[in-house]
C-alpha cells in the first residue's frame, strides 16, 4: 500500500466535508481550512520524496489490479504538480482569511475551495482516463460555484461563458474516451498506451488524438480556444481568481503532457506539429490581448494565456531539454501568477479598484509592496536572475537546438511584450501620482492592519520561492530533469502500473 498517493485527494475531500458539517461557524471553517491545506502541503511533500526515491508510486483502489480497477499513479510530474497545489492551497487559505467577505464564507467558500483542490489533486494523480474525466467534473462544479460567489453582474456574464465552454470541452473529452474504449477496450492509461501502439487503424487514432487535444486545449486555454478565460477569470473574488490562475489551466496543461507523452507518442510529426503552432499562436495572442487592456486582473488573465504557450512549446518540441523547460516553466509560472493576482487584491484593498487608470501612488506610500510586485512581474517577463529567466532560457535553448527558428523568435518577442505589460502596470499603478478622483485615505494610514498583514504573508512567501528558484535553480532543474526523463520513457510508467505484464 502506498498511502501517500491517496492522501492528497483524501485530505481536501475530508476538510471540505468537515467544513460543510460546521456550516454555521465561520471561525471553525477558517481554522479547518488552514489545518487542511497545511496537511495537504505536508502530504504532497511526502509524496514528492517518495516519488524521488522510488520513481513511480502506484496504488490500486480496492486492490483491483490494473488494468481492471482504478489506479492512482504518481510520477515526478504529478508529484511536482501536487506539491504546487499544496503550496497554493496554503497561500490562498491564509490570504482568504483577510480577503473573503463574510457573505462569501456563509455560502460555502471553504468547502468549495477544498472540493476544488480535491478535484485538482485527483486529476494529477489518477491513472485512469475515465477517472480523469470524473475529477475534471468535480473540479469544474466547484469552480463554477466559486466563480459566481457574490452574484454580481459581471460574474454572471463571465460564468455563462466559462460554464458553456468547459461543458463543451467535457463533452468532447467524453466522446474521445468513448472512441478510445471502442478501439482498445481499456480505460487504464498505461494499458491504452500499450494497446494503441499495436492497433492498425492509424487514422482513427489520429482523430482521437486531436479530440483529446481540443478537449484539453479548451481547459488549458490554448489558442484558438482561450476566449472564455479572459472573459471570466477577473470577475470572481480575488482569492478565487488567484487559485484559478495558478492551478486550473495547468490541469489542462498537465493532461496534455500526460496524454501526449504516454499515449499519443507514435506520430509526433502530426500531433506535435499541431501543438507547435498552437503554442506559437497561444503565446502571441495572449500577450497582444494583454497589451490592449487597462484592468489589473484582466491583463494578468491574458498573460496566463500567453504563458500557457511556453509550456505547450516545451511539450511540442518533444526533446529532453524542451520537456525539462516545460516542467520548469510550469513550476515557475504557478507560483508567479498566483502571486501577481494576490498583489492585485492588495492594491484593490488599498484603493478600491482594479482599473489602472484610477490606481496610482503605490510606490510612494507602499514601497515594500512595490518591491513585492517587482519580483514576480520581472520574473514573468524573464529578467535574470529571477525564476522566469531560467524557465524561458531552457525553452528557448531547446528551440534553438531543435532549429525551430520561427517559434523561438516568437517566444523571444513575447518575452519582450510581457515586459511591456508589466511596465504598464508598474507605471500606472505604482509610479504615477494618485489620481484626484480616487480616494487614497487608506493609503495614508501609517500602520498596516492585521488583516492586511495576512494578505502580505503569502505574497512574501511566494516571492521568496521565486527568488529561491532564480538564485538556486539547480535542485529545481534536477527535479524537472528527473520528470522529463520519465516522460520521455513511458515504458517505465507502463511497467510500474501493469507490473511487467503485457
Amino acid at each position: 500500500m502506498s498511502l501517500e498517493v491517496a492522501l492528497p485527494i483524501v485530505i481536501p475531500l475530508l476538510t471540505g466535508t468537515l467544513c460543510v458539517a460546521l456550516w454555521r461557524s465561520n471561525l471553525a471553517q477558517r481554522i479547518l481550512s488552514i489545518v487542511g491545506s497545511s496537511a495537504l502541503l505536508a502530504a504532497s511533500i511526502w509524496l514528492l520524496i517518495s516519488v524521488y526515491q522510488q520513481g513511480h508510486v502506484v496504488m490500486y483502489m480496492g486492490n483491483w489490479e490494473a488494468p481492471y480497477g482504478i489506479t492512482l499513479v504518481a510520477d515526478m510530474l504529478a508529484a511536482i504538480m501536487v506539491v504546487l497545489t499544496g503550496m497554493m492551497a496554503l497561500a490562498i487559505a491564509i490570504y482568504s482569511l483577510a480577503s473573503a467577505s463574510p457573505a462569501h464564507e456563509k455560502f460555502g467558500y471553504y468547502p468549495l475551495m477544498h472540493l476544488l483542490l480535491a478535484g485538482v489533486a485527483g486529476s494529477f494523480l489518477t491513472g485512469d482516463i475515465f477517472n480523469l474525466y470524473v475529477w475534471f467534473e468535480v473540479m469544474l462544479i466547484a469552480s463554477f460555484a466559486l466563480l459566481i460567489l457574490g452574484g454580481e453582474r459581471a460574474q454572471m456574464e463571465g460564468a455563462v461563458k466559462y460554464v458553456t465552454l468547459n461543458l463543451l470541452s467535457s463533452a468532447i473529452f467524453l466522446s474521445a474516451i468513448g472512441l478510445t474504449y471502442g478501439v482498445v477496450g481499456s480505460l487504464n492509461m498505461a494499458d491504452i498506451a500499450v494497446k494503441l501502439g499495436s492497433t492498425e487503424n492509424d487514422g482513427l487514432v489520429d482523430v482521437i488524438a486531436v479530440m483529446f487535444l481540443v478537449a484539453f486545449g479548451i481547459k488549458a486555454a490554448a489558442f484558438p480556444l482561450f476566449f472564455w478565460l479572459p472573459a471570466s477569470y477577473h470577475t470572481g473574488p480575488v482569492a478565487v481568481s488567484a487559485l484559478f490562475a495558478g492551478l486550473l489551466t495547468k490541469v489542462g496543461v498537465y493532461a496534455l503532457f500526460r496524454v501526449f507523452t504516454l499515449i499519443f507518442n507514435e506520430n509526433p510529426e502530426f500531433t506535435h506539429q499541431i501543438l507547435l503552432w498552437i503554442a506559437a499562436g497561444t503565446m502571441l495572442t495572449g500577450v497582444l490581448g494583454a497589451a490592449a487592456q487597462f484592468e489589473f486582473r484582466r491583463i494578468l488573465s491574458f498573460h496566463i494565456v500567453s504563458q500557457i504557450g511556453y509550456m505547450l512549446l516545451g511539450l511540442a518540441l518533444f526533446t529532453p531539454l524542451a520537456l525539462i523547460g516545460g516542467v520548469f516553466y510550469i513550476m515557475h509560472h504557478i507560483i508567479v501568477k498566483t502571486n501577481l493576482f494576490l498583489i492585485s487584491g492588495i492594491a484593490h484593498r488599498l484603493l478600491g479598484t482594479y482599473d489602472l487608470k484610477k490606481l496610482g501612488g503605490l510606490y510612494k506610500s507602499k514601497p515594500f509592496l512595490s518591491i513585492l510586485f517587482l519580483i514576480p512581474a520581472l520574473s514573468l517577463a524573464g529578467i535574470p536572475p529571477l525564476s522566469g529567466f531560467f524557465a524561458k532560457f531552457i525553452i528557448i535553448r531547446a528551440g534553438v537546438e531543435a532549429e525551430a527558428w520561427v517559434v523561438t523568435g516568437i517566444a523571444l518577442l513575447v518575452g519582450m511584450l510581457t515586459m511591456y505589460s508589466m511596465i504598464k502596470i508598474w507605471a500606472e499603478a505604482f509610479w504615477k501620482k494618485l489620481p484626484d478622483s480616487t480616494d487614497g485615505a487608506s493609503l495614508e494610514r501609517g500602520r498596516t492592519s492585521g488583516s492586511l498583514m495576512l494578505m502580505y504573508a503569502p505574497v512574501i512567501a511566494l516571492g521568496i520561492c521565486t527568488l529561491y528558484i532564480g538564485l538556486n535553480g539547480q535542485p529545481i532543474y534536477a527535479i524537472a530533469e528527473f520528470s522529463a526523463t520519465q516522460l520521455l520513457d513511458p515504458s517505465r510508467y507502463i511497467e510500474a502500473v501493469l507490473g511487467g505484464r503485457p
Binding site: 475515465f130 474525466y133 470524473v134 467534473e137 469544474l140 462544479i141 463554477f144 460555484a145 459566481i148 452574484g151 454580481e152 453582474r153 459581471a154 454572471m156 456574464e157 463571465g158 460564468a159 455563462v160 461563458k161 460554464v163 458553456t164 461543458l167 463543451l168 467535457s170 463533452a171 467524453l174 466522446s175 474516451i177 468513448g178 472512441l179 474504449y181 471502442g182 477496450g185 480505460l187 476566449f227 472573459a231 471570466s232 477577473h234 470577475t235
Partner: protein
C-alpha cells in the same frame, strides 16, 4: 443496429451544436443537454453492441460460455449521466440567476466582460 445509432448520434451532435449557436441562453442549455446525451450514445455505440447476451455467468461456472455483452460502457454512461445531471442542474440555476440580474436572455447583450 450500429448504422442507425451512428446516425442518431450524428443528428444529436448536430442539433446540440445548432442549439448552442443560438442567441438565447435557454437554447444554449438545451444544446448542452443534447450534447451530453450524444456523447453517452457514442460511448454505447463505439464500444460495440452485443444483443441478447447479458454479462451473466451460469451458476457454478467460472467462465461465461460464448461471447457476452461488455457491461463497462453502461457503467461509464451511468456515471456520465449522473455527472451531466448535476452540472446541468447548476447550468439551469445559473441561467435563471443570470436572467434575474441581467434582465436579458440574449447572449449578444452579455459582452461587457469580453473585451
Amino acid at each position: 443496429m450500429e448504422p442507425l445509432l451512428a446516425i442518431a448520434v450524428g443528428l444529436l451532435y448536430a442539433a446540440a451544436i445548432y442549439m448552442m449557436l443560438r442567441r438565447s441562453i435557454v437554447k444554449l442549455v438545451i444544446g448542452l443537454m443534447l450534447l451530453s446525451n450524444a456523447a453517452n450514445l457514442l460511448i454505447f455505440t463505439s464500444a460495440g453492441l452485443t444483443p441478447g447476451a447479458p454479462p451473466l455467468i451460469a451458476e457454478g461456472a467460472l467462465m461465461p460460455d460464448g461471447p457476452i455483452a461488455d457491461p463497462l460502457p453502461q457503467a461509464l454512461i451511468l456515471t456520465a449521466i449522473v455527472i451531466a445531471f448535476g452540472v446541468l442542474a447548476f447550468a439551469v440555476v445559473l441561467i435563471h440567476r443570470a436572467y434575474n440580474i441581467l434582465h436579458t436572455d440574449n447572449l449578444d447583450q452579455m459582452k461587457d466582460t469580453d473585451t
